[in-house]
């Protein structure tokens, strides 16, 4: 326990100091941390799921507070919470038996309801939705391993299902933990393979002799473009350099190294070039529940230019980037303002930043935001590991991956 606690603290410090950056690596590290946290967590005999959820929430709150700008942390925490709920649900339903599925799931939700009376309404609603929603592709896929795992439990506890529930719990505890860890492993797997999953779809989107525009640097975009190249598609790529970090330069170099026809342009030339472009493909920092995108700075401009010339604007995003929050909340839309030294050299401008003369406030301000918000109406298509989606469909994906109870990780554990 202290071991895992110190791991948590270390990760929190890293997040705070912005030593972990990039949503993919953050997501992966968070998931791995939660996995070891869960595996070392001791669970009480009754209501293990609730206890586990509380424990994960407590850690999750710390992690989210450490770097509120990095939404991937919150996403993974919520995913893990959702996994725990799903596993618990499937275990109990399996134990009770297929016939009384609906009733038992309600019952399970009632126990949760006791734990968190504040959210009773949402819990009920979630349960209702769980029960009522038509099986999506995702749930169908997820259900297969569950039913495969479930039978032994039901067989062991089948004969005395109602009465010897407490004795049964013990095995169920281990079962639950085991299943959750299995599922988190799958999640980690999914995060690490999301590039390939997305890249597989490249040939469906990129055609011969097309011109693709991208901005800055994104690993996902790189894999996507290269996958198309490997499939013998020949196309050209315009790379906007992505001031002020100019990651586009390195990106273009790597593309050229992989044998793609590449042209580097300045960010300000995007509008001039967009009429020659067939498709804009970019990465994202996070995808919000309404289909809006939080993306590296400069992308809103590119999206507007693309819309003006009716060029498809495609956003590549791994599932871990799906954030179940809406961007109306200013806390969610926090932008990270980086150091102005990326824009200009402190020494050269130190005389303008002089506060010792004049009114006492410097006349020159330098603002260096890291992100842009691209509204959903500017995005034509999202490509995630599960396929292409409309911005308006994002809410549905989110319902698949997250439980409505977990949307507010912080407030709830505080209450």
């Amino acid at each position: 326990m202290p071991d895992v606690q110190s791991m948590v603290n270390e990760f929190v410090i890293k997040l705070k100091k912005r030593k972990v950056e990039g949503s993919k690596s953050t997501a992966k590290l968070t998931a791995e941390l939660l996995r070891s946290f869960i595996s070392q967590q001791r669970l009480p005999h009754s209501n293990q799921a609730g206890a586990l959820i509380d424990a994960v929430k407590a850690v999750g709150e710390k992690l989210i507070a450490a770097n509120p700008v990095e939404l991937a942390v919150g996403n993974v925490v919520r995913r893990v919470l959702h996994i725990i709920r799903e596993e618990d649900l499937s275990l109990t339903t399996a134990a009770v038996g297929g016939l009384s599925l609906a009733a038992e799931s309600d019952d399970e939700n009632d126990t949760e309801q006791d734990d968190h009376p504040v959210l009773s309404a949402t819990a009920v609603a979630a349960a209702a939705r769980n029960a009522l929603r038509p099986p999506s592709l995702q749930t169908l896929l997820e259900d297969i391993p569950h039913s495969a795992v479930a039978p032994p439990t039901s067989s062991s506890g089948g004969d005395s299902e109602g009465k010897s529930k407490s004795a049964d719990k013990n095995s169920m505890t281990r079962k639950l933990k085991h299943n959750v860890i299995e599922a988190v492993n799958e999640l980690i797997q999914e995060i690490s393979t999301c590039h390939e999953q997305i890249a597989e779809q490249a040939v469906e989107h990129i055609h011969h002799n097309e011109v693709i525009l991208t901005l800055g640097s994104s690993r996902t975009v790189m894999e996507f473009l290269c996958a198309a190249k490997e499939k013998k598609r020949s196309f050209r790529v315009f790379v906007a350099e992505g001031a002020p970090r100019y990651q586009g330069h390195a990106f273009a170099k790597e593309l050229a190294g992989r044998g793609l026809q590449t042209t580097v342009i300045t960010d300000s030339a995007v509008f001039a070039m967009i009429s020659r472009v067939n498709m804009v493909i970019v990465g994202a920092h996070a995808v919000m529940a309404n289909g809006g995108v939080i993306a590296p700075v400069g992308l809103n401009m590119v999206a507007l230019a693309a819309q003006r010339h009716a060029v498809p604007f495609v956003v590549l995003a791994g599932v871990h980037k799906l954030c179940p929050l809406y961007p109306h909340n200013p806390e969610v839309l926090l932008n990270e303002l980086k150091s102005p030294s990326e824009l200009l050299d402190f020494g050269e401008f130190s005389d303008c930043l002089d506060v010792g003369s004049g009114t006492g406030s410097p006349l020159l301000h330098v603002v260096n935001p890291a992100f842009d918000y691209v509204p959903p109406n500017l995005v034509n298509l999202f490509i995630t590991d599960t396929g292409g989606h409309n911005p308006s469909y994002i809410y549905r994906l989110i319902a698949d991956y997250y439980s409505a109870d977990d949307l507010v990780v912080r407030r709830k554990s505080a209450s």
């Binding site: 410090i13 030593k19 450490a66 303002l337 150091s339 010792g356 003369s357 006492g360 410097p362």
Partner: protein, 728 residues
């Protein structure tokens, strides 16, 4: 366990090289600036714990060291060491994974030199280390600088130090207006980046700096910079510590150590520079740089060490529009106007129609209605009642400002001061509950001087501080009844008087922007300086505060010194006469006087002669004739002594000049006897004829008024001339 390993790294060579690769990176953090520029605040709290944008300065330094990959930090505490250690123990810095913080406590160190000597004795430093003070704010990565340093060490074991510098636009005013320091000149070899010359008191040199000729001979090229800023971050080899121990008079890191190494060419130690471009580094030296660096932090130059990133222990703060940082639980009135670039700490309440701009407000403050706050630094738990006006002030913890009080620009209110209602605190004044120590040192002098006296004083004062404070607390209730205190009705605190002549200097180091007229003056002076250097320096220097040591002053200084010296010599001589001291002893004493006043041998002769003439004059005499006899007696008696100081003609001429001066100015009695005594001196072999003739020929060109005595002596000189011709 650390000490057992010993200090092998100090030996240099291959051993050290191997060691460098495996020893953890160490840093020495001096949590004491050994200066008094932050008084009176630093009488009650050490400088490194003063909040800088709502986090103690030391947190910035430690957070940077930690993120830069330092494994082990030794925090050296001296003044208020208890407070520093208590703070560190309660913070989370102890027990961090992969980052150990150790405190070293000292009670009697008075300078950085003492501190490093003490650390050397502890044998804790095993390899290259980073030397910083606890008031450094930086986000620079150290890897590159370290790599360069180690590479240089591999090639040349004499490269003991790498100094981090940063470009800073060279405008005549920026050094002053940004960091409150004087212009810094450095000569750097552009290829090897070796530091060849360092002068941080350039203003005193009146726009001219003198470089050693050898520098130009030894180096193929030198680039001379006045646009660099010293970040006070040094990467040192262990030799640095032993150097401090060997040279026990090294006190100040820059003035003694760096300059000492640069001048000393016997050991051949070298200092190199590492220039940083995109990252930030600066040191808080005085109130002005406190202001500047606070604003740089708010402008995010120090990212990630900014208020909304929890780099360490600081409370959760959010950055809102226009650079306004607000902690989570701030109570703001709807009608309050919070301007851009402000920081408001948690738990603070701000009343109706209050305007805040460009300011930092700490935690738990209560600010009333209709208050205007501009460019201020308000620390924790401050109460400001309705209608107060604050402009460019520093307000420390627990201060209470009664309604309608006004702080003019540059005011500093130390801890728990109470300002009476409607009281106007005049500009640049410093108010403290502690009374000003009697001995007053000019701030600027102390900063650079050895300042042994200043610090001991602090130590004793800080002990007394607590007592005093308690007394004051009890008195406080009385003072409520007391009609008028020094800071208004119902106030508590003493306004510190600024040092004499220092009042003009206050604006230099204050948080308030430099007033317009001063700026104009600085710029004018700067351009004038340029003119001087262009036009051969014949123009009189412009008068003004910028040149405290202008040419006139320094001349006077020298004169003061020599007058003092003459008096001392006279006293010594009189003692010798009265107490029958041996001549040898007199010589010894006069010599030591000469050394301590740093004067030439000629001055001794003059002074001694003066003393003798004075003695003769003081002896009872009725007529000029008797006076001459007196002189003859004295001269005969002390002939040997005087002769000792007259090894060559130069000294003899000096004696004649001195005598002439006496005749004309101080002792008019001699004026009629000039020739007689001159003759006497000639007879006694004290003056050679060449000396007298030289003097005469020199005087030929002088003004008519000066020739008065020459005319008197005309016959004598003629006679001398003839005598010499006859000899030939």
């Amino acid at each position: 366990m650390v000490a057992k390993k010993g200090n092998k790294g100090g030996m240099g060579g291959e051993d050290a090289e191997e060691e460098l690769t495996r020893v953890p990176l160490q840093a020495i953090l001096l949590a004491d600036s050994f200066a008094t520029l932050f008084r009176p605040i630093t009488l009650e709290r050490p400088k490194v714990l003063l909040p800088l944008v709502n986090a103690p300065m030391i947190d910035y330094t430690l957070a940077w060291l930690e993120s830069a990959g330092v494994d082990e930090v030794f925090v050296f505490c001296c003044a208020h060491s208890k407070q520093v250690i208590d703070y560190l123990e309660n913070s989370k810095w102890f027990g961090q994974p992969n980052f150990s913080v150790t405190t070293i406590e000292s009670y009697n160190s008075t300078s950085a030199g003492d501190a490093l000597r003490l650390i050397y004795e502890k044998h804790v430093i095993r390899g290259d280390f980073i030397l910083v003070t606890g008031d450094t704010v930086s986000n620079m990565p150290l890897t590159q600088a370290l790599k360069e340093h180690k590479e240089r060490r591999r090639k040349d074991s004499n490269a003991v130090m790498t100094m981090v510098i940063k470009q800073s636009k060279s405008s005549p005013i920026t050094h002053q207006s940004r960091l409150g320091t004087e212009e810094l000149f450095m000569a750097i070899d552009p290829e090897t980046k070796q530091l060849l010359y360092y002068e941080d008191k350039a203003a005193a040199l009146k726009g001219t700096i003198s470089l050693d000729k050898a520098l130009l001979m030894d180096n193929s090229s030198i680039s001379l910079h006045n646009d660099k800023q010293d970040c006070y971050i040094d990467i040192c080899s262990p030799e640095v510590l032993s150097l401090f121990t060997d040279n026990f008079d090294y006190q100040h890191l820059r003035r003694h150590f760096v300059k000492g190494l640069l001048v000393d060419d016997i050991m051949g130690y070298k200092i190199f520079t590492h220039e940083i471009h995109s990252s930030y580094a600066a040191r808080i030296d005085n109130y002005r740089s406190y202001d500047t660096i606070s604003k740089d932090i708010i402008q995010r130059w120090t990212y990630p060490l900014v208020p909304d990133v929890q780099f360490f222990g600081n409370s959760v703060t959010k950055l809102e529009r226009q650079g306004m940082y607000r902690a989570s639980d701030v109570e703001l009135s709807r009608s309050a106007k919070i301007g851009p670039f402000t920081v408001i700490g948690s738990g603070t309440k701000i009343g109706n129609y209050t305007e805040v701009s460009n300011s930092v407000i700490g935690e738990g403050c209560v600010i009333g209605s209709d208050v205007s706050i501009d460019g201020c630094y308000i620390w924790d738990k401050v109460t400001i009642e309705d209608g107060c006006k604050l402009k460019h002030a520093i307000v420390c913890d627990g201060v209470i400002m009664k309604s309608g009080a006004v702080l003019e620009a540059g005011v500093v209110l130390s801890f728990k001061v109470i300002i009476g209602s409607r009281f106007v605190v005049p500009a640049y004044s410093k108010v403290s509950l502690l009374q000003q120590p009697v001995k007053q040192d000019s701030d600027e002098e102390l900063e650079y001087a050895d300042n042994s006296s200043g610090n001991i004083e602090i130590a004793t004062l800080s002990n007394a501080a607590e007592k005093l404070e308690e007394e004051l607390r009890t008195e406080l209730s009385d003072s409520q009844i007391q009609s008028v205190s020094e800071v208004g009705n119902g106030g508590a605190g003493f306004i510190w008087s600024v040092s004499e002549g220092g009042h003009d200097e206050e604006w230099r180091h204050s948080v308030a922007p430099i007033p317009m007229d001063r700026l104009v003056e600085i710029i004018k002076n700067a351009t004038d300086e340029l003119d001087i250097s262009n036009e051969d320096g014949n123009i009189l220097p412009p008068s003004g505060e910028l040149e405290p040591d202008s040419v006139n002053d320094s001349d006077e200084d020298v004169r003061d010194d020599s007058v003092q010296f003459e008096k001392e010599v006279e006293a010594t001589f009189l003692r010798a006469v009265n107490e029958n001291v041996k001549e040898d002893h007199v010589i010894l004493e006069v010599n030591s006087l000469r050394l301590s006043y740093n004067l030439a041998a000629t001055d001794c002769a003059g002074a001694l002669f003066y003393a003798m003439m004075k003695l003769a004059l003081d002896a009872p005499h009725g007529s000029p004739g008797e006076l001459v006899k007196n002189v003859a007696a004295v001269i005969t008696k002390w002939n040997k002594l005087l002769k000792y100081y007259l090894p060559s003609i130069d000294e003899e001429i000096e004696v004649i000049l001195k005598f002439e001066e006496m005749c004309l100015e101080s002792t008019k009695e001699y004026s009629t006897l000039f020739v007689q005594i001159l003759h006497l001196l000639y007879d006694k072999d004290i003056l050679e004829e060449d000396a007298i003739l030289n003097w005469a020929s020199e005087k030929e060109e002088a003004d008519e008024s000066d020739k008065l005595l020459l005319k008197q002596a005309e016959k004598f000189i003629q006679w001398l001339n003839e005598a010499s011709e006859e000899e030939e």
